[in-house]
């Protein structure tokens, strides 16, 4: 219970501070609207914001799905085929070395103003953390398990499927958590560069019209969405690797 109550208290406290600061210092609403004004706008324009949020949500989830699929496939290929390692590793590093922000205009040029370039952007931004974490996990299998499996006459594929992949799941989960946290960045950056829908687009539009409260409302919804996605994924992963002892290295033997 306190896991929900404590952050809620912190959150409400910050809101009160924010409102107090706006009221006391009489900050102009177009510079920084108070939380009450933001909530009022959010309610008044709930339909519009929900529509844009839906677009952004689809972009984030599709990006997460594609990025996770691509990343897992790359990690598995690198772990299973020695040849694939030397081919894929540079791609992996380059995918992270080129900032997606620099790629955004090109992606929009290629894929148009629809959701495709945003999905591509989110995919690109999470490809590296997923691949790197999963590959790392696959490489660090307890050597004794592999020895044992070999004396049992297990094939390389069986060892990968039944030992190395389950053993790498905790590492994979870490990668996916990072991915869940950064995927919204990819989607929103894509929307900033060129789009006709989505929370990023709506924020830019409201910014141009000096409707700062509406901008904050969109930002607010984006943050709630990102946090919800993170916790949904985190909860799923926790159930998946429930066998792993948590934060207690002493129980490893």
């Amino acid at each position: 219970m306190s896991a929900i109550v404590k952050p809620l208290i912190v959150f409400l406290g910050l809101m009160c501070l924010w409102q107090a600061a706006v009221s006391v210092f009489e900050i102009a609403p177009f510079i920084l609207p108070g939380p009450i004004a933001v909530i009022e706008v959010a309610i008044a324009r709930a339909d519009t914001i929900a529509e844009h949020a839906g677009t952004t949500l689809v972009e984030i989830l599709l990006g997460l799905a594609f990025g996770t699929l691509l990343g897992s496939a790359s990690a598995l290929m690198m772990a299973y085929f020695r040849q694939a390692r030397s081919w894929l590793l540079p791609v992996l590093v380059v995918s992270q070395a080129i900032p997606v922000f620099a790629l955004a205009p090109v992606l929009v040029l290629w894929f148009g103003y629809g959701i495709a370039p945003k999905v591509a952007m989110a995919t690109l931004i999470i490809y590296f953390p997923v691949t790197a974490a999963f590959y790392d996990g696959l490489r660090r299998t307890e050597p004794g398990w592999i020895d044992l499996a070999q004396t049992m006459g297990a094939s390389k594929a069986a060892i990968l499927r039944q030992i190395r992949i389950p053993a790498a799941l905790p590492a994979f989960a870490s990668g996916l958590r990072v991915a869940a946290a950064v995927a919204p960045i990819g989607a929103v950056v894509g929307e900033w560069v060129g789009s006709s829908a989505g929370l990023g687009y709506y924020m830019l539009l409201m910014n141009g019209r000096v409707q700062t409260a509406a901008m904050f409302a969109a930002l607010f919804i984006l943050a709630i969405m990102a946090v919800a996605i993170y916790f949904a994924i985190d909860a799923t992963l926790r159930r998946l690797v429930a066998w792993q002892p948590e934060a207690d290295p002493a129980t490893f033997s």
């Binding site: 020895d147 070999q150 004396t151 049992m152 006459g153 039944q162």
Partner: protein
């Protein structure tokens, strides 16, 4: 205990022969000139201090690594050893995401076979782990985990069992219990056990080979009097104990003589 069915399941348990083994790691020679016989259906203990290459030897016997050269390992009556050995390591090597029963069935699962559930429950009963069949490894004590590892080894039903200090991480009482259990359950098999504990070797081994760093040619096996499972504190074994300790201490190569002086 009705053990006719399980323990005679391997109709032939070959002995094991190693001739002139030269073993190493990453091209560095650890030991050479090692020859020994492990008689069929008996426990052979390989005794030596840490770092002499006992584990390397065992992994070579299991077919996991290639010997440097000149080594001739064969199971008497069989062409190679790799299909006839089961391997039990110092760590229990239980997969943490599988239940105890699923860990016992690991070999069949890995080979894509359907695990024989009747045999699993039989073996769990023999190892005294029936109640814990559905527990995950992290819920088990060290002794229980090693019991499951033993059950997993039995499930493989190989004529030769290679053990790498399987009981060294356990407390004295649990260790004694597991030694006895393993001795009873693996009775009909050829067991080669690596250990650094002379008492364990004296308790279990029909034959004891002292493995030394460097050249092992001319090493003589010890065959303590009486049938294993002995009481290692029995005064009649004192002679064997002193002989083993003397063999562990000599001869020294120039480099580890320096270590001993330091």
């Amino acid at each position: 205990m009705n053990d006719a069915n399980l323990l005679s399941a391997s109709p032939y348990a070959p002995g094991l022969s190693v001739r002139n083994a030269r073993l190493g790691w990453n091209g560095l020679e650890l030991l050479s000139g090692l020859s020994f016989d492990a008689p069929a259906r008996a426990w052979t203990c390989l005794l030596g201090e840490s770092g002499v290459g006992k584990s390397t030897l065992l992994r070579t016997l299991a077919g996991l690594i290639e010997p440097l050269d000149g080594v001739d390992i064969w199971a008497k009556g069989a062409t190679n050893t790799s299909n006839s050995v089961a391997y039990m390591a110092q760590q229990d090597l239980l997969l943490p995401w599988l239940t105890a029963a699923d860990n016992v069935a690991l070999g069949a699962r890995l080979r894509g076979e359907t695990p024989d559930s009747a045999k699993i429950s039989d073996i769990l009963e023999r190892t005294g782990m029936t109640d814990r069949a559905d527990a995950r490894p992290r819920e088990l004590s060290g002794g229980e985990r090693q019991r499951i590892a033993l059950a997993r080894t039995l499930m493989e039903n190989r004529p030769i069992v290679l053990m790498d200090e399987p009981f060294s991480a356990l407390d004295a009482i649990t260790r004694a219990q597991l030694q006895q259990l393993a001795f009873e359950l693996l009775g009909a098999r050829t067991v080669v056990m690596v250990t650094h504990d002379p008492f364990e070797a004296l308790r279990l081994g029909s034959k004891i080979h002292v493995v030394r760093k460097g050249d092992n040619s001319g090493a003589v096996p010890f065959s303590p009097a009486g049938t294993a499972l002995r009481d290692p504190t029995d005064p009649s074994l004192r002679g064997s104990y002193h002989a083993i300790m003397a063999a562990l201490d000599t001869p020294k190569t120039p480099e580890n003589q320096g270590n001993a002086a330091a």
